[in-house]
């Protein structure tokens, strides 16, 4: 079996995706379980400073991180299962995006004391 890795765009036009990465798991309150689509997670801020730092505020926590250029880019592939009259079930792989950088949060969350907002 041979599956060709396809892409409809060239390298320069390939759309760039983004990754925000943090340690641990973001939990949703029980009342929202099952329908979290469209729910706001938090706020990403690129700090105004000489350093390339970012903050991500989720609920009462603030994370501090930075933008990292990936040593090896990540390609976003989409797996398609097709049912063809002629060739039966076939699988295709298509490149739908590329990721060159990510915003990585490595610190433990800093709890924000209420009253600052």
């Amino acid at each position: 079996m041979e599956i060709r890795v396809k892409c409809r765009c060239g390298e320069d036009e390939c759309s760039e995706w983004a990754i925000v990465e943090l340690q641990g798991v973001v939990e949703t309150q029980a009342s929202f379980e099952g329908s979290i689509q469209n729910l706001e997670i938090g706020r990403l801020c690129h700090t105004e400073s000489s350093q390339e730092t970012y903050t991500f505020t989720v609920g009462y926590h603030e994370l501090i991180g930075s933008k990292v250029t990936l040593k090896k880019p990540l390609l976003v592939l989409k797996k398609l299962q097709l049912d063809d009259e002629v060739s039966g079930k076939t699988t295709e792989l298509e490149v739908v995006g590329i990721i060159r950088t990510k915003i990585l949060f490595k610190t433990r969350p800093k709890p924000l004391i209420s009253g600052t907002n």
Partner: protein
């Protein structure tokens, strides 16, 4: 109001002093059909030039092949939460009242990594050696009414496309594999030629050399093929015989070949020995009788193809060809040490020469798979299984 959902660019271009909210995408979910593949710049370029494929049978782990290399695919999990944010998509291109939404489509559990591996060519050997092309088929080939002879017998033959779909190797590695088996394409199928039949063609070629006063070092392909066709050999196999036992004189396509004494002598050595162990003296005698006049057979030509064992005062020789051994290092060393528990380097080396493992040198291979011992300072070192 146009809403741009996705918003990867908003994250990437986020200016210092700015902030944006991040939400779950309207279609947030597992999206198991979306995979992340780590790829270095060369691979990225190959992929965008449509040169990358996944190969393997349904019951095998798929490998990724570029034009010349083969990679195993490993999934590496990430315990961090990786929020995957797609690029913006919108129905409306206008920038008026543009509300930027950055949304997470999926939390990726990890990504796939590629590890370069040796091509799995043992399967190619197995598939082609199951049905070598021999004299019987030649007769059928010459008889035009018998085109589906093989299909009638239920014999499985392989086209290039069949091989690509069955053997886990890149196109270039597959070609090299076919060349090392001296395979030839007949009627669209890749075949190895039965050794007995090859012997018949070779002897006819040598016979014609004598008859026509041809020099072994300056054979003309057209003349050779005409003579063999006149003797009722298919022209394709006549040409193939040159490719197996000779090399081109110069590469500008003059069609001149020179017979390689080592390959011709090796062929006759194998014919003499067959499956037996012969006394060395008897072998040398029989072998010299078979070698054509004008060629000299030296025992060194047979390294990697025969082994000797000395019992008492008698030395016996037998066929033990590197080409019959597995191409993967673990299996290769296993068979070698099962055959003989201790090897000196001069005997072992010819059986390891063709092993090419990514990221591992010969020293590395020996370190990994063998134990080296030197019983006496003036005796050569000896290798055994680890």
């Amino acid at each position: 109001m146009a809403e741009r959902i996705g918003g990867a660019d908003a994250v990437i271009d986020l200016k210092p002093g700015s902030s944006i909210p991040i939400s779950y995408h309207p279609s947030f979910g597992p999206h198991d059909d979306l995979l992340l593949l780590e790829a270095d710049d060369n691979l990225v370029s190959d992929i965008f030039n449509q040169r990358v494929t996944l190969r393997g049978l349904p019951d095998e782990d798929a490998v990724l092949c570029t034009k010349s290399k083969t990679f195993a695919i490993k999934f590496v999990g990430n315990s961090n939460s990786m929020f995957l944010i797609p690029p913006s998509s919108s129905d409306d291109d206008t920038n008026i009242n543009n509300r930027q939404l950055v949304s997470v489509l999926k939390i990726s559990p990890g990504n796939m990594e590629l590890v370069e591996v040796s091509p799995r060519l043992d399967k190619l050997k197995q598939l082609l050696l199951a049905n070598p092309f021999g004299a019987a088929e030649v007769d059928a080939m010459m008889d035009d009414n018998d085109d589906d002879n093989n299909e009638k017998k239920g014999v499985k033959l392989y086209t290039w496309s069949d091989l690509v779909n069955t053997v886990q190797a890149s196109d270039e590695e597959l070609s090299v594999g076919l060349q090392s088996l001296s395979a030839v394409e007949i009627d669209g199928y890749w075949r190895v030629i039965d050794e007995n039949y090859l012997d018949v063609i070779l002897r006819m070629l040598l016979h014609n050399c004598v008859l026509n006063y041809w020099s072994f070092d300056d054979l003309d392909e057209d003349e050779v093929v005409s003579a063999l066709v006149a003797d009722e050999f298919p022209s394709k196999l006549a040409s193939h015989c040159l490719r197996v036992f000779a090399s081109r004189v110069n590469s500008n396509g003059t069609g001149k070949w020179k017979l390689e004494p080592r390959l011709v002598c090796l062929h006759f050595a194998r014919l003499v020995l067959r499956d037996e162990k012969m006394r060395l003296e008897s072998f040398m005698e029989e072998w010299k009788k078979k070698i054509p006049d004008g060629m000299e057979g030296r025992f060194e030509m047979l390294e990697g193809e025969v082994l000797t064992e000395t019992i008492g005062i008698e030395t016996r020789v037998y066929t033990f060809s590197v080409r019959s051994l597995p191409s993967t290092p673990a299996e290769r060393f296993s068979i070698l040490f099962k055959h003989r528990s201790k090897w000196e380097w001069k005997d072992l080396e010819p059986y390891l020469r063709d092993l090419h493992v990514p990221r591992l040198s010969m020293e590395g291979l020996l370190l990994k798979y063998t134990r080296r011992a030197q019983p006496k300072a003036d005796a050569p070192p000896v290798f055994s299984a680890r």
